[in-house]
């Protein structure tokens, strides 16, 4: 993997950031393609296990957004 190919695992709340991501998409806004989105039903679903799991499987960074 080179430096230009990073993976940011993003846990996005269905109602907040996932909606924002959707809106950014339909508005045709441009943003870096480094994020891999995982939709969670609510930020309350988040667990430290998820963050560690993401790192274990090779994520370069983790982003949690509500």
């Amino acid at each position: 993997m080179n430096d230009n190919n990073i993976k940011i695992v993003s846990f996005l709340c269905n109602w907040c950031s996932y909606g924002a991501a959707d809106l950014a998409g339909v508005s045709r806004m441009e943003y870096p393609a480094d994020i891999r989105v995982i939709r969670i039903p609510c930020s309350g679903r988040m667990s430290p296990k998820f963050i560690l799991s993401a790192f274990r499987e090779g994520a370069d960074a983790v982003w949690v957004s509500g």
Partner: protein, 315 residues
């Protein structure tokens, strides 16, 4: 501490004699010197088996959950804070336990003493601040102060915070200007050096889970390491799995750990597991002014919301 055990036996005898409690949880001598083990006593004749000295480093608060009937438990300063935590977390009811508080002068670091001897220790005696340790080849007289466990050295709550009866006079509490020197020492390193420090720390871990079993906080019916669907952590000694285990276990104790040192005491590989938990204790103290188990009426910071909670980390 010899006077202390007489008092403990007396109290236990009275309690069992008057049938105020069904059982007393305390320490008894183990099969080898310096290895005291927890014991449950149900008859007054057995109270002679109870001992209490500087080798009783395990945390008896671990054994008070899911007991039937009223029980008495012997509690050092840190144990009593764990009992408070149990009461807050609804693991035990206050009126179900009778707490025999013991003002604690610190427990000894057994591995440090064992390291002085090449052969097995055959005899261990304690008189005030003097320890006499004997093996087949030599005899050492040690000052207890120099062989205290690291957590006891930094302990600021030696007296039980909650008790029904005290088995000794309260001891003087120490107040430290720098309560977390060990955490600051690690924090002063750069990221890679810290990573190496923790790699070195956990490299001997055999995943026996003694730290988890000795810990009074680790009472989940199914621990995350034992979950299999999904399996969050591998079972082997892979270094990532070992790190994940220690990291998550420490994180589950955030704002709850009383630094009783039972995890380190139980570790067969002498890993200082406290390096993980201490950082969280420091954070809880710095961010919320919180030390676990001091007040029955307060909710722990991680389970209550307050508009003043620090939130600088959120963009």
């Amino acid at each position: 501490m010899d006077t202390c055990i007489q008092k403990i036996r007396e109290i236990a005898f009275q309690l069992l004699d008057k049938k105020e409690v069904e059982r007393v949880i305390g320490f008894s001598n183990g099969t080898i010197p310096m290895a005291t083990s927890p014991i449950t006593i149900a008859s007054k004749q057995d109270t002679e088996k109870l001992v209490f000295n500087s080798t009783c480093g395990l945390n008896l608060a671990n054994y008070i959950r899911q007991q039937k009937g009223k029980i008495a438990v012997i509690a050092k300063g840190c144990d009593s804070r764990n009992i408070v935590t149990h009461i807050i977390e609804n693991q035990v009811k206050r009126d179900q336990i009778y707490i025999i508080g013991v003002p604690c002068k610190g427990m000894i670091n057994k591995s440090k003493i064992k390291a002085l001897f090449e052969d097995d220790i055959l005899k261990f005696d304690e008189d005030g601040d003097t320890l006499t340790v004997e093996s087949s080849s030599k005899k050492e007289t040690l000052s207890k102060k120099e062989y205290l466990r690291d957590n006891c050295r930094l302990c600021q709550h030696k007296n039980p915070v909650i008790y029904d009866i005290l088995a000794g006079d309260p001891v003087k509490e120490q107040v430290l200007d720098v309560p977390y020197p060990d955490v600051e020492k690690i924090a002063a390193l750069d990221a890679d050096a810290r990573w190496i420090h923790f790699q070195e720390l956990t490299k001997n871990c055999i995943r026996c889970y003694a730290c988890r079993n000795a810990c009074p906080l680790c009472y989940c019916p199914t621990c995350f390491v034992d979950e299999s669907g999904p399996q969050w952590v591998g079972k082997g000694q892979d270094k990532t799995d070992v790190n994940t285990f220690h990291f998550l276990r420490a994180f589950h104790c955030a704002g709850r750990c009383t630094d009783c040192g039972a995890c380190v005491e139980a570790c067969p590989m002498d890993i200082n597991v406290r390096d993980f938990t201490r950082k969280l204790n420091k954070d809880a103290f710095d961010m919320f002014g919180w030390e676990a188990g001091l007040d029955q009426t307060k909710r722990p910071p991680l389970d209550a919301y307050s508009p003043d909670d620090p939130n600088d980390f959120i963009k």
